[in-house]
């Protein structure tokens, strides 16, 4: 069975640009969470979506937005990119959201570099 897939693998953008990252969850999983991992740090929670609704949001500015599609895939959008947005962006899927989502399965991530 395919695991969580993310695209693209790597991305280089310029300050002020916009970026869209994509994630496909494991088949049958209805919840997707997004994390930002800066070098040397642990993953920082950005969003959780379950059944196409936002169920959780971390401490990130409004430049960050996301959505979940009817097939449960998800997009993370970041506007007006800053140098500090350079990081590995991880997507994780789980069967359900909330408390029962603790068994999350992560994708390999998208490495975003902002120059």
């Amino acid at each position: 069975d395919a695991g969580v897939t993310q695209s693209p693998t790597h991305l280089i953008k310029t300050r002020g640009q916009h970026v869209t990252l994509r994630c496909s969850p494991i088949s049958g999983h209805k919840s997707v969470s997004w994390y930002q991992q800066v070098l040397g740090q642990g993953p920082q929670f950005i969003f959780q979506y379950y059944e196409k609704e936002e169920r959780g949001r971390g401490n990130f500015p409004d430049r960050f937005s996301a959505r979940q599609f009817p097939n449960y895939s998800s997009e993370l959008n970041v506007n007006a990119l800053l140098l500090g947005d350079s990081a590995l962006y991880l997507c994780a899927s789980s069967l359900v959201g909330g408390r029962a989502s603790y068994e999350q399965y992560f994708g390999p991530g998208t490495r975003l570099t902002v120059t």
């Binding site: 969580v4 969470s33 994390y35 040397g40 740090q41 642990g42 993953p43 920082q44 929670f45 959780q48 379950y50 169920r55 959780g56 971390g58 991880l90 997507c91 994780a92 959201g97 909330g98 408390r99 989502s101 603790y102 068994e103 999350q104 399965y105 992560f106 994708g107 390999p108 991530g109």
Partner: protein, 112 residues
């Protein structure tokens, strides 16, 4: 504000010995604690979890201990194997929320 902390960035252990990875937290509202393992170029992999109502959970070579009074969590790997070499993240969540808080990770090296 780092609510979950892993104060040891790295740990080296001989093959066959015990590996002990530690994690401290500050939020007494955390209900679930998890350990993830991460290999280079891969996403973290769920390893083992424990509910706050328990003090121990065991799964094969992996055991997680929870000391709520000390707000301390540890992962024991016995016996350690070279394939266990990876970065280990401790994470926690509040039952009523959907947000996971991760530590900064401990890089474990098991020496053959």
């Amino acid at each position: 504000d780092q609510q979950v902390k892993q104060n040891s960035p790295s740990l080296s252990v001989q093959e066959g010995r015990i590996s002990i990875l530690n994690c401290d937290y500050t939020n007494s509202m955390f209900d679930y604690f998890l350990w993830y393992k991460k290999y280079p170029a891969e996403g973290p992999t769920f390893l083992i979890s424990i509910s706050s109502i328990k003090d121990k959970n065991e799964d094969g070579r992996f055991t997680v201990f929870l000391n709520k009074s000390a707000k301390h969590l540890s992962l024991h790997i016995v016996p350690s194997q070279p394939g266990d070499s990876a970065v280990y993240f401790c994470a926690a969540m509040v039952d009523t929320g959907n947000q996971f808080y991760f530590g900064t990770g401990t890089s474990l090296t098991v020496i053959p």
